[in-house]
Subunit: 750 residues, 2 copies
């Protein structure tokens, strides 16, 4: 044996020992803090400002909790109620106290966790199912097994931190009476909750996995990673949204839950609000696995989709960091949430040390009290932070990235970025909305054309216990609640989940190469059978416009004659309309079903010639909508709130263009954000639309030509090919005897 060979063998051997150690070592802590990490943190206390600040505020919070005393009430309430909020607070406090024990090495924190754990241990064995019965998978501490899983994910970390503080017998008591039974309850006793592809299941998997790692229980870890082989779920069994609980051959467990909801681009099919919610279990378990089972290379799984998804999620925010409320999403949720604080830190440490993440962490102005948070705070102190640049981008949806997606256009405005978000994705699971080809528009953090979001007041007990309100189904999910086409007052797929889940829209093109002419376009052929819809949304920046303006073109081709409605939901007050309209003396709902029953019709008119123009005023800004309409189009003003016996809906206004008895048709609309009014100087500037005329000057099955004339008399023609998105194709059309030629699917000729 030569030397090289000898060393090679020694190395292999060491490597084996190392790997073996990693797998079996029972160092504690090892989930998000490691012994090495703790040593480094302790050695640097007082030197890393952001870490020290978070530590100080956490310490003061936990010290106050310790003073307040431990409360472990008998479970009783829905979310928003006392027992729910107390148990929720308990697991959050335990986790933090555990970290403090490790970092500050003060016994009182370990003692606090230990005492609380033993109160839970005392209660658990005789605890029945939670008395509130609304959930399909009731928990014990909480009304949903989901929240019990939250509890275990956090508590596992607390247990990890005080593991070595406890005696062997104490650990045995806790594990036998509390942790293992709870892990089994979540999984074995709740297969419909645990063994699915769903954000709920991810929480379940991770709860079982995290406690499994601390307890060094390989069975639990296996069950977490790969699900349960036997779950008793019958073929064809559906959940209460009408979706299959399990598709044939469907895998389960953590890895399956990484596989399924994420596209290769890291887009989470349920949408950003739920991605944010899911992010924490994904990242915390990945981090724990990376620390304890590096052999699994979890962060490399599916081309590193977990780390990628965090970047994607950050891009799915407005300029203030608030998530676009695609599908069910409560407005206001943002990257300031604790899940994102955790994930941003983790993605920095375990990813490629993306310094853009550091600037997000700076804005969050806190870090996690663990290895990752320390690394972030240290890098910030070292001045490594750079801006996190959000670009115009298209994200694919679907496991393989072939199920449509979401396109975001970002264009610099005079004061704020104008942001457009178009959705042409798959159904998005049970939280999906029937909103094919819908979009929303922002100026900075202000919604100009809004997506309604969800009909729910999360954790506000007065409103249905903080749960989904029935108006979520009757209004928020319906197509009419979105800025997109509704055919015959129905919803996409007749709002049938199982049908909708089989289809997706298709991206036609996404091109943001020219910052002055950014375009996203997609097609939808299944939402209204027999009808093809093709939408083009462009942000166009021209010198004589204060801001990039939106050009919205929808081409509809149908086998039948239909009524098409195109609503735009805005905020603010109508300033002017260039057509006559009547406001009724008595308000009636616009329709009787599919969400129409929730709209008051507050005005109706028509424009006998040319363009309909409506301007409104919000946040001291003017917004003008100009649409090329025909004299037969009905122009309808609406307000949300009809048939709303509990005042569950926001009473936001809308403007709708309705075409009746139409087969093949176009909707062509421009929208400008302009002007400003200062209530102190009482001076308004640029308060009028800059578009004098918007005309369809060419249309056939292949092309459309739109002429835009400004008030100043400038002309531009937008030309678009509906059938060939190839960048290298050449197109020609003849308009008024003049030949226009261009390369690629679109052009804007001045």
């Amino acid at each position: 044996m030569n030397k090289i060979s000898f060393y090679s063998k020694v190395c292999s051997c060491l490597l084996f020992i190392l790997i073996f150690q990693c797998y079996t070592a029972q160092e504690h802590p090892s989930l998000i803090l490691t012994t090495k990490g703790v040593a480094e943190i302790r050695a640097n206390l007082g030197r890393i400002p952001l870490f020290d600040e978070t530590l100080a505020s956490t310490k003061s919070q936990i010290d106050a909790e310790i003073l307040n005393g431990i409360e472990v009430p008998i479970p009783k309430d829905y979310s928003g109620g006392y027992t729910h909020e107390r148990h929720k607070k308990n697991f959050l406090m335990m986790q933090k106290a555990g970290l403090l024990y490790q970092i500050l090495n003060e016994e009182k924190y370990a003692k606090y966790v230990k005492e609380m754990l033993f109160q839970y241990e005392k209660m658990y064995p005789t605890l029945p199912l939670h008395p509130q019965t609304r959930s399909y998978a009731r928990g014990k501490f909480f009304w949903q097994a989901l929240n019990d899983s939250n509890w275990l994910v956090y508590t596992a970390q607390a247990y990890d931190c005080i593991y070595n503080y406890l005696t062997v017998s104490e650990r045995k008591t806790l594990e036998s009476n509390l942790f293992r039974p709870l892990a089994d309850f979540i999984s074995l006793e709740n297969p419909k909750f645990y063994n699915r592809i769903h954000n709920h299941s991810t929480w379940g998997n991770v709860a079982v996995g995290m406690i499994g790692l601390v307890m060094n229980d390989k069975k639990l870890v296996e069950r977490a990673l790969y699900g349960m082989k036997k779950d008793g779920i019958k073929e064809g069994e559906k959940d209460n949204d009408g979706g299959l609980l399990k598709k044939p051959g469907q895998k389960a467990g953590f890895f399956a839950n990484v596989d399924e909801p994420f596209s290769p681009d890291g887009y989470f099919t349920e949408g950003p609000y739920y991605q944010r919610y899911a992010m924490y279990p994904y990242m915390v378990f990945a981090e724990a696995l990376q620390n304890t089972r590096p052999d699994l290379k979890v962060f490399e799984y599916k081309n590193g989709v977990l780390l990628k998804s965090l970047i994607t999620l950050l891009n799915l925010t407005d300029t203030e960091g608030k998530f676009f409320p695609l599908n069910d999403g409560q407005k206001g949720m943002s990257y300031y949430s604790r899940e994102l604080v955790f994930s941003v830190d983790a993605a920095y440490l375990f990813g490629e040390k993306n310094t853009g993440l550091l600037s997000i962490a700076e804005k969050q102005s806190e870090v996690t009290l663990d290895n990752a948070g320390f690394a972030v705070a240290k890098a910030i102190q070292e001045g490594k932070a750079t801006s996190f640049i959000k670009k115009s981008v298209a994200y694919s949806d679907g496991i393989k990235g072939d199920q449509g997606g979401v396109g975001i256009l970002r264009s610099k405005g005079s004061t704020e970025e104008i942001t457009l978000v178009m959705k042409y994705a798959a159904q998005g699971g049970s939280h999906g909305h029937y909103d094919k080809l819908s979009f929303s528009l922002y100026e900075g953090g202000n919604e100009i054309l809004q997506d309604y979001g969800l009909a729910r007041f999360v954790n506000i007990q007065q409103k249905g216990g903080g749960n989904y309100l029935k108006e979520n189904k009757t209004w928020a999910k319906q197509t009419i609640a979105h800025n997109t086409i509704v055919q015959n007052e129905s919803s996409n797929f007749e709002a049938d989940y199982e049908t909708g889940d089989q289809f997706h829209s298709d991206k036609y093109l996404f091109d943001a190469n020219n910052p002055n002419l950014q375009i996203v376009s997609a097609k939808e052929s299944n939402a209204f059978p027999g009808t093809e819809m093709h939408r083009v949304l462009a942000l166009i920046k021209e010198d004589d416009f204060e801001n990039p303006f939106l050009l919205d073109i929808i081409k509809i081709k149908s086998k039948t004659s239909n009524q098409y409605d195109l609503p735009y939901y805005y905020f603010g007050q109508i300033m002017s309309a260039n057509f006559k309209y009547e406001t009724p003396n008595i308000l009636s709902p616009l329709g009787t079903k599919n969400g129409y029953e929730h709209l008051w019709k507050i005005g109706e008119g028509s424009q006998p010639e040319g363009n309909a123009k409506v301007s409104w005023f919000n946040n001291d800004r003017f917004i003008s909508l100009t649409s090329a309409v025909s004299k037969d189009d009905q122009l309808i003003f609406t307000k949300i709130g009809a048939n709303d016996p509990d005042f569950n809906l926001r009473n936001d206004p809308g403007f709708m263009i309705r075409k009746t008895n139409a087969k093949d048709t176009y909707f062509v609309t421009a929208l400008e954000i302009h002007g400003h009014y200062n209530p102190v100087t009482e001076i308004g500037n640029n308060t009028f639309s800059n578009i004098k005329k918007l005309d369809i000057v060419y249309q056939d099955d292949q092309y459309i030509g739109i002429k835009i004339m400004t008030v100043g008399g400038d002309l531009s023609i937008f030309l678009f090919s509906f059938q060939d998105a190839d960048k290298n194709s050449t197109h020609n059309v003849s308009i008024d005897g003049k030949i226009y030629s261009w390369n690629g699917a679109f052009t804007l000729i001045k």
Copy 2:
């Protein structure tokens, strides 16, 4: 003649010369800048930051204007339109350019003013009345003589600054062809505009006075100070609001306009929005008079009411400096307006050097480029600024202070000040609202219970040329548009101005000595003949309430049976109600006239036992209203916006308590601002009302006793005497066999 006598004579003589000089000296500038002031400013350039910053930004603004070139278009538009806004900009720019010429001593600024003046001079002689005919007193440059007066007030200052730059012959040309004809036009040719007690007249008087001072034209100055002896206004002649143009024996001119609208406390009867507007001419002319006619002692006039009124006006703002929108007032107007920048500076220099004003000037972050602004900036640099403390205060209305008034209660809340504004004033002139005993409530700068303000979009041309909308009369002025009692769906004085103008409410008591129990109370006997209303509003601070809560008691005594409505206008969305209510499938207006035609009735219910409680949610805050109602009371949810064919009204919600067939009755309501919801953590705290029960436990003609029981079981009893507000009186009532005794009109017994 002894020495003393000799010196005495010399002194007298010198004094005479001095006075004479002051009166006749033609030093320029002398209005808001003096030669001495200019010298001091020039000597300190670059040393006084706030002054230098204002100077730099003004310079850059005027330099840009000079580059842009002069535009003096033929008058054509209403406010908001091009010619209006251009002429308005012109006088503002000329005034600033004049100041820059003096301070920087650069000829280009004088040249700019001169050239613009000569363009006006060229246009004026042949200029007809403004083509827009809506005003009762049309101008020439603008649609109202009022705006022409604005023009002259500012332009006089510009002329003063470049006076010495012009040749004698140039001055003569300007004075003969432009200034004197314009001054005569405003006054002699528009007596109904000029010779009244009205904020319009003040502008007219000051315009004539300012140009008179510069031209050293004593006739014009006399006309400004004391009005015109002959005005041809017929006795009994009324304006379009139905008010007498001139009461018999009424004086006119500047001093009369100081006498009349201000109470001795400095409250301006039209309300703060118009006081702000009027403040500029009052202060600028006072300053100019003080500099040129110190013999008039203008700042001492009527016990120094001008300076006092500025302090009063600053107190009529919320914590963000926004004026309470009493009477016609556009929301958002604040002490950041240019009128207040000017007035704050002037009040500092010409008043008692109130250092609190300096902190307001710091917030304004600009000063005027004149003697006063320099003094303020210098004092700030010297570190003299102190906080401007706004206290709870009652201001009297009426020339003699005997016509009711306005009471403001300010109480420290958990995060923000809770501010209550009660109005029990006189009619308030043509901009007055029929809102006797109304109030509004703020938390910091947020309106909790709102005063609607006016129905107008000032200077936004799309909305009726920026002028008053018809809904101002049909809605905003009506009693139902306010948080106060409406009898039989009518308005106070049947909304008849002439009647309303004869009466006022009466303060019953105002007591803010105890910060934990602040009270304002007033009575009204004329608004609904035969009915006496007595309202008590208390801000009560108790330990187990997050914020001071409002207790609102209204005692009504009538000769007849009536319907009484008490609306509360709020912002946000209903979270819960403790009574059953129906929401109609079809919305109808609540009534047919007096503003009721503008309210949609969106829900109605009743509470068969005890208290009606409604909670709503706004700005992440919860607000709960608890009212002691009877089973016959109708509880009505409303929304503003019916019969609004041009969408001129904001669609704000209201909650109304209606008592029918009532003669003598009480409304007793508590309102709590509590809790917080964080959309990022999704945690809501203190989201429920803390009041379990609100009961009237004692009532007779003299006393009322209200028992308040909290959720925690704490009891307190509020006792109030309606007939004896004397602080030294002793009262006794027996409740449930127990005798309660107290001193003064009210007490809160725990």
